[in-house]
Symmetry: C2
């Protein structure tokens, strides 16, 4: 194997909205696999809003991506050469191989079960599905008959979280941007109702749709939507802090939710989690999610863009709300 | 029994800082006890910051005190006449008898065990001690060796919560206003350190005193102090929302803590509670707290003002930080 490897490096730390110019394309020779290594050609990159946090220079649950380093990201790739026992040319692997065409793989790359679609591996079986499963069930702990609200509900994670809540016997209200996303939530994903935050008053609609209060809120957005929900929580409510996409591209840290003190009056709890803490239980979740998909109980969407050169542009789609479902890039 | 009964009524709903003029003094005849009633002469009124919330006209865990109604509050009183089986003249009772000299008592008043000091009944055995006990132990769940921070630490509830944390084997840092309160925390209440928020940079001092992060925060204050703590929580931290005295007298709801999203990065939890939910377990807490006091393991302070006419003025002491320990009024 010879030729050139293209990589997207982090060029600068964004201040405010992340820009394509915060990344730079570099060409280097395709590396040769050493002892115990496999050479993998990435075929899909996966994008998620949390990656915006990975390029901030502050302490977090992972070290920040360094300036000049290959941008971190989940991938699926195909083994092209292998000195690694258990991997053979043609095998598909997934892992955190980053924004590059070729990577030297080792034990950190996981071989996909034969027949697994890369798009399925990167959405339902990837961080997205795992985040929805453990965030909703382990942190949110919904009970049958409860009212669950999901923000970013048409997004990859939100749509799965809401459907899992339906499978627990909950009433589920989604908040999303635009009539098409709201239609999909109600018509395809089985949500009981959807609120279009771009055209409706979220607080008024939540009061109408959740007259007995909100038992579980699965939040991907933060900001005014979180505040509107906190004003309407039921007793013993659980607010799952999955993400806060409205905050990620702010140059200054925005204020928190004024209504947080309603957690006292309603004896509520607001809790964050990091999906990597659940790695020992990923197989359990993968089994459940795969079965639900096979039975047609769980629908999911992927938004597949094309071309390695479009990686930064594709990442930015997450923050304009352009993506419909899991954002992937096919190389 | 005849004569006049003085009562403090709620005259107006405060906008911003509560004023003495929000209450009015009224004289009515002392009522005569009917069948199954006892006439009780209140001897102590107890005050707590949460009472500020009871005079707001908004949904909460109790209905608001109505305009023209006797101000709600915990009391200890002495039975002067009784048609209630089990109560005899001279018995001491505690309950929510409100800001008035005389009240008709019934089953809602609890007879104090003989020999119980009214000041002990209204602090350690009252809402204060119960709030500290259940808020810290059941919501905060401190483990030996953990770092616990308490705001409003020299206050009635905060000082007990911090000492209970010490009894669990935790390192305890208190935040209080003024050198005298901080001296008392370290010298008398056994806190490991105290931060004077009026003279020190709370964030800088927390970073110095809690280099491994804050495991449990027992918050009575809210505002900037809560934000400074959230920026410094350890993994799996628990933030106990006991109160938010910095917010109670604001005419407009202040913003929430910007750093709430650190709950996600640190997999933390922020949780509120209402002490009344723990009524079935009050006897357990009373037993533990009484034993700790008897063994000299728990110190507590009461601030006893005098004269029924001073009830509103005494209530306001809570919000200027004038009180040292549990604020009581002896009638």
């Amino acid at each position: 194997m010879s030729g050139m490897n293209r990589q997207w490096l982090l060029r600068s730390r964004p201040v405010g909205m992340v820009q394509e110019s915060d990344f730079e394309l570099k060409e280097t020779p395709v590396p040769a696999p050493g002892e115990g290594q496999a050479l993998v050609r990435n075929t899909y990159l996966a994008f998620e809003p949390a990656m915006r946090g990975w390029i901030e220079d502050r302490p977090s649950y992972m070290p920040p991506v360094g300036i000049g380093e290959v941008m971190r990201g989940m991938t699926v790739g195909e083994v092209v050469e292998s000195n690694f026992e258990g991997l053979a040319p043609g095998d598909l692997v997934s892992g955190m191989a980053g924004w590059q065409e070729y990577v030297l793989g080792d034990a950190l790359l996981t071989k996909l079960a034969p027949g697994t679609e890369p798009t399925f591996a990167l959405s339902i079986l990837g961080a997205t599905g795992m985040t929805a499963y453990f965030g909703l069930l382990d942190v949110g702990r919904p009970q049958a008959g409860e009212t669950v609200v999901v923000s970013g509900a048409a997004g990859a994670t939100g749509s799965i979280a809401g459907q899992i809540a339906k499978l627990q016997g909950c009433r589920v209200v989604g908040i999303a941007g635009g009539p098409e996303k709201c239609r999909w939530l109600a018509a395809e994903a089985g949500f009981d109702a959807a609120i279009d935050y771009k055209r409706e008053d979220v607080g008024v609609r939540l009061s109408e749709l959740c007259p007995d209060g909100i038992d579980v809120f699965f939040d991907n957005v933060g900001g005014e939507i979180l505040d509107a929900v906190l004003a309407r929580i039921a007793q013993k409510a659980r607010v799952v802090l999955c993400g806060a996409i409205s905050r990620y591209n702010e140059a200054e840290l925005p204020p928190g939710p004024s209504n947080y003190s309603n957690l006292t009056i309603q004896r509520g709890r607001m809790e964050g989690f990091i999906v990597m803490d659940f790695i020992p239980r990923f197989a359990e979740a993968a089994g459940k999610l795969t079965a639900w998909c096979a039975e047609g109980k769980l629908v999911w969407q992927v938004d597949v863009q094309e071309g390695f050169e479009n990686a930064p542009k594709t990442f930015l789609r997450l923050f304009s709300g352009a993506n419909v479902g899991k954002q992937l890039l096919k190389l």
